[in-house]
Symmetry: C2
Subunit: 120 residues, 2 copies
DNA sequence: GACGTAAAGGCAGATATCTGCTTATTATTC
DNA sequence: GAATAATAAGCAGATATCTGCCTTTACGTC
């Protein structure tokens, strides 16, 4: 799905928005957690497989909107679970969320104007 | 399956024997690799699920026949795969294999004697 | 030899992340 | 407005390890 340079696809926007929300309780999040966060909201249909999500996370990191690191290996060992890659929103990422939100708002206003002019 | 104290169950013996073989190419092995090693030999029926294997590995470690460590987290990151827990046979473990082999041999000799006495 | 019990085995699924291949969708080009 | 090119999404499965619950098996006891 070819994209306008600099633009974000819906899943990427959803991830960044969820990252903002998750950030309230913890600076970092991991992919599996993000999957649940997205699934818990009405965006469930966005995520049929994890592959899609992990690739989107990779793209966002490459774009510089997210950064990631592997957690201290002693933690998964202690909790006997696989290691997590911990992501956090960069300043650029937070900015992108704001931009996307403004763009969505202006599209909403445009639709509203249109509805007023052409009521059915 | 209650066990005679100090004795090993068949799966544990199979693991230790395979560990001896794997050791020829590398000091350490990991669970998934062991699963394939056991599956590749005729012991496939021993291993329907991984759970059984991982629990046996845990027991062997607790008994001191194996020791384990987590691999350097940079390796799975580079190879983009989950971290492995690396096991190696201890001296005690190698000894246990030898003991088990001797026990098996002496049982085999006993059977042979029996067959000679009672031929059908 | 029957019987109770401790522990191994089996089954199912959770936890995390990643990749290869095909399909769908979008932006650009003409 | 149709064709093309690029790439995101979907599907399937691999890679590793672990746990909870139920069933089976073998050891000891009586």
């Amino acid at each position: 799905m070819r994209r306008k340079p600099g633009a974000l696809v819906p899943l990427e926007i959803a991830i960044c928005r969820a990252a903002l929300i998750l950030r309230r309780r913890d600076e970092e999040f991991h992919g599996y957690e993000m999957a649940r966060a997205l699934g818990a909201e009405a965006d469930a249909r966005l995520l049929t497989a994890y592959g899609t999500l992990y690739r989107a996370l990779g793209r966002l990191e490459k774009m510089g909107l997210l950064k990631s690191r592997w957690e201290d290996p002693r933690i998964p060992a202690r909790e006997s679970r696989p290691s997590r890659r911990l992501y956090s929103l960069t300043a650029l990422g937070a900015e992108a969320v704001a931009t996307a939100r403004r763009a969505a708002d202006s599209r909403a206003r445009a639709r509203k104007r249109l509805r007023r002019l052409v009521p059915a």
